[in-house]
Symmetry: C2
Subunit: 309 residues, 2 copies
Amino acid sequence: MMAARFDRIALIGIGLIGSSIAHDIRAEGLAGHVAISTRSAGTLKRAEELGLGDSYHASAAEAVRDADLVVVSVPVGASGAVAAEIAPHLKTGAILTDVGSTKASVIAQMAPHVPPGVHFIAGHPIAGTEHSGPDAGFAGLFRGRWCILTPLPEADRDAVARLRAFWEALGSRVDEMDPAHHDKVLAIVSHLPHIIAYNIVGTADDLETVTESEVIKYSASGFRDFTRLAASDPTMWRDVCLHNKDAILEMLARFSEDLAYLQRAIRWGDGEKLFDLFTRTRAIRRSIVEAGQDTGLPDFGRHAGDAKG
Amino acid sequence: MMAARFDRIALIGIGLIGSSIAHDIRAEGLAGHVAISTRSAGTLKRAEELGLGDSYHASAAEAVRDADLVVVSVPVGASGAVAAEIAPHLKTGAILTDVGSTKASVIAQMAPHVPPGVHFIAGHPIAGTEHSGPDAGFAGLFRGRWCILTPLPEADRDAVARLRAFWEALGSRVDEMDPAHHDKVLAIVSHLPHIIAYNIVGTADDLETVTESEVIKYSASGFRDFTRLAASDPTMWRDVCLHNKDAILEMLARFSEDLAYLQRAIRWGDGEKLFDLFTRTRAIRRSIVEAGQDTGLPDFGRHAGDAKG
């Protein structure tokens, strides 16, 4: 097996994902030195208080110097600026990767800056929570989750294998995918769900006939599930919407078309159509639980928490 | 405080809600005798194997004889037929209630059959999981959750107080509401979320460009949350759609209008509009957690389970 350890790792951006990687690097002993940089002075200070790395740098250019692996974990809209800033300082032979939720846009933003001899391999760990910032990270976030790498056709296979080994050491399973296909897949499994969740919470918030207090009190009947996704980082999700526009608009069009069909079945009292759809969707839930991608406990296992609370 | 105990309780329908009530009645010692009836012979047998009651009846009419409290827990479309069947056999002074997710329709279906001297008070415990059937029930399902009663203006206040005490003994907090208002509130906090969840899971299932296996593998990025609601009982949800049509269509229209606005912001790259919405929705999540209606643990606390699994 390929060694997952690097002498020096630079983490650019230290929010939920960056800090979780930092926790895992420490727990698994994957680096000789971890250099951390982030744009906000307050966040950098907090990362230092949490002891997430070995050195802390206001300048990303300084943090990447001599690093063998550079992981950029910033909102996707900031990828280009970060790449431009760090590119001249990257070591020959270094691996440069990211964790952004859109891949074609990130590659378009970063690749032009990457100097020859640096291995740029874009990536996306399919993991997260609704919390954000350096305090939200924890060891084990990536365990059992998939990480998708989208190397360019000309990528160095040895560098891809090293990056794969790194993610595997964090407990992830690794897939490789074409960036455009990644963006289509994520549009349906992640971007559309978040957009829909944000939208329904907004709709509920705007009602005149139902008060906000009623929405909150009775939210355990379904609504509360959507509020979790709708509590995700606004900057991250604004950037996702702006940088995966085409795939998201395609999925939104299909969703709305299907919803119009369902709405018509409700209006005309077509119970059979409703029953058919409501039966078909059960099978997918079962497959997700069987694939180990969700708990099979009723209600996500929340009732155990309720009883304690 | 009003006594929550009844000499004889009849449970008509013994799915997730009926069986959870049965568990709680036993745990809290709320009945001298529990008579159970359900339409399916197989389910009735299973209820007996689970020891959910004291007597088991193929005939609902027989089960309600001499009962002081009758709880009807059937899909809302079956409410009228059940009321017609049991009405002639209800004891004078008995309280008749239900647990259906729509209230105006249930009252319209049941009230005409209720004989004088029987106290009909429709109700709706705001609790459940995505599982169904008598094996899905458990003691404590209603703890900390709200139960909405929708008594008619002429309802006997003493009977309402006794039913309220019963739900409080199950750990619920009890609200009273006008049936039409209940249906509007539930349309936004429960019915719309379920319909949207069913719809998005259907959309994902129909894609040609993204495989079902990809949807399942990468579902932890958001999609899996929707599959839980979309795994709920199809008969129950078909009936909800058919019996709360007007309120659901109103909420669907608002949702679609808001989604078109959001879609337009994505198409035109209006990051400010997106950021504003995505920020506003965070506050609602916080209020729900503060109100004790959801866990504040990241990712519904699922990561603890992942680590164990």
